[in-house]
Amino acid sequence: MHKLWASTYKEMLLLIRDLGGIAILFIMPMLLLIVITLVQDSTFKTINDVKIPVLLVDNDNGEVSKNIIDNLSESNSFEILQKNTEDEAKEAVFAGKYQLAIIIPENLSASLQKKVNQNVEGILSKFGLEEDNSLVEKEAIPAKEVRLYFDPATQLSFKSSVKNGIDKMISKIETQSIYKAFQTELGEEEAVPIFDTENFISFKEVRQTKGNQEIIPNSAQHNVPAWALFAIFFIVVPLSINLVKEKNQGTFVRLRTQPVNYATVLGGKTIVYLVVCLIQFTLMLLVGIFLFPAIGLPQLDVSGKLPMLYAVALFSGLAAIGLGLLLGTIAKTQEQSAPFGAIMVVILAALGGVWVPVFVMPKLMQSISKISPMNWGLEAFYDVFLRNVNFVKILPEISLLLLFFIITILIAIIYNQKKNAV
């Protein structure tokens, strides 16, 4: 125990003597959290403050194009900028000046009306409701297409959400035209609608409640755990460098000749770096609770969750430290440990669902993500922050994190023993 305490004290001294290193360990994760949350905040807001400028070429100038323009304007997501020609719009979008151009074809309103009338008349004649129900040869009306141009750099998710929105809007306009045509054919006045053109089937998101209050997830509750976990795992880099340095400066050689086991040496590092992880986590929580509201971001709600949050942070920290110690044990130079550690953390973050949610990943990647310790940590954090679970529910995840720590440490000790066997 005395040797473990001496190792811990030595590690603490080494750490506090490197003020620049401490600043990086604590300030950079907070900066990362603030920047990412500011960037991602809009995607969590129901009403978007930012309007995306969209070019629109109206070759129709009819009722349908007016409807499209009105709908787009009402969506509050887009700022409509009209252009005169398709080529002009296409050039601007492909040059990256705009994200999207919508080209409404010529005679869209007239052709849609004609097509709808033709179909309605056909149906009514089947029911004998048309005055002249003799078979009239149908005029061929070519299908019309609304053309979309996207900036090649536009993300696929944005593209598909715009395409879905426009598709839905066009379907609604078509349906309304059909109802209107029926009403006209039936001789009813347009002013008194007999058909309700609004959707009969709608959907409502039912959110989890706590007491009588709905739990509404915000960007802070998504970002703080995700990036706090990312920062915790980045401890792999300085920790592995710390071990490699010991080997290079000869102190590890001396330790190998002394009556102290490798587990004690690793134990001292584990204790100090675990404290670092917990301080990092605390600072990030403080940023979420106090700084976020001051800079216009949603406040992080931790009420009643702190013990569980710290339990997840503690075990995530252990898993990260295990990985760092293993890497530091195996690596021979800082050139090996630093880039490998940093890239490994980014890979684990990607697999764990920090960048992209696991459920949208391909099946294979979803399976692989289940073996990423960051995924266990992130799921445990989401369980606490967003799913409002009790301690028992996070036990499987924190047990896996602990197991990961034990396995990595055991591998490091065995590797060191084999490497230095006499």
Binding site: H2, K3, A6, S7, Y9, K10, L13, L14, R17, D18, Q249, G250, T251, V253, R254, L255, R256, T257, Q258, P259, V260, N420, A421, V422
Partner: protein, 247 residues
């Protein structure tokens, strides 16, 4: 007593043995010098004797103990002063010694007093609270030496303990090693300073290409080597004048 029996070491991928079938007996209380040109196998031999390297074949015992069966007991018994400054540059001299002393199980006042006493002997008392990064080569060598002797080892291995230091530092180091030897510590050391070895060692072995070519009391070796006036003459006569560069 150190008893070495046909000890060999061949590094992975190496063409030759660094230490080959080396047998040697070092009595308790001796100051034994392992001398030889660069790459002769001196550091390899010391590394094996201090558990840093696994021998390819052969065996050895220190005071009747071996590393396979009595690892921790043996580690407590020996002290090592490596050739590199094995110190934490951002820790002070005192903090470095406190840590390495703790790893030998020393603690409290005993540890503190031992550190202060050794710093005093080595002329480093007023630098105890200075970071070793700011120390000169000679000062680092002296702290390096203290780190290996704080626990009063029975057998002390030193790999080039006076290399790159000024005459004053060298004298302090040698004087203290003599004192430790008088207190009963067996000393095994490697050096390129043959004049130093001649007056310091009770016995020496000249090693070349992993093998002992000659061993004995320095004065006797000088006497028996025709035309030799000192140990350096014996050394050159035994190992030749060709450069020994290895990569």
């Amino acid at each position: 007593m150190i008893q070495i029996n046909q000890l060999s070491k061949k590094y992975k991928g190496a063409e030759f043995f660094s230490v080959k079938d080396l047998s040697l007996k070092i009595e308790t209380g001796e100051i034994y010098g392992l001398l030889g040109p660069n790459g002769a196998g001196k550091t390899t031999l010391i590394s094996m004797l201090t558990s840093l390297l696994k021998p390819t074949s052969g065996s050895f015992t220190i005071n009747g103990l071996n590393f396979k069966e009595n690892k921790n007991q043996l580690k407590q018994l020996i002290g090592i002063v490596p050739q590199e400054y094995a110190l934490y540059p951002t820790l002070t001299a005192f903090e470095n010694l406190e840590y390495f002393g703790s790893m030998y199980g020393l603690k409290g006042e005993i540890l503190k007093n031992s550190i202060l006493e050794h710093l005093e002997i080595m002329g480093l008392s007023k630098f105890a609270t200075k970071k070793t990064a700011t120390f000169s080569g000679g000062m680092k060598r002296r702290v390096n030496l203290i780190a290996g002797i704080l626990h009063q080892p029975k057998v002390l291995f030193l790999d080039e303990p006076t290399v790159g230091v000024d005459v004053q530092s060298k004298n302090v180091i040698i004087d203290h090693l003599k004192f430790l030897n008088q207190q009963g510590t067996t000393i095994v050391y490697t050096s390129h300073h043959l004049i130093e070895a001649e007056v310091f060692c009770t016995r020496v072995a000249i090693i070349d290409q992993g093998e002992i070519i000659i061993k004995g009391i320095p004065s006797e070796l000088i006497k028996t080597q025709a035309g030799a006036n000192n140990l350096e003459d014996v050394f050159l006569a035994q190992t030749g004048k060709a450069l020994r560069d290895y990569a």
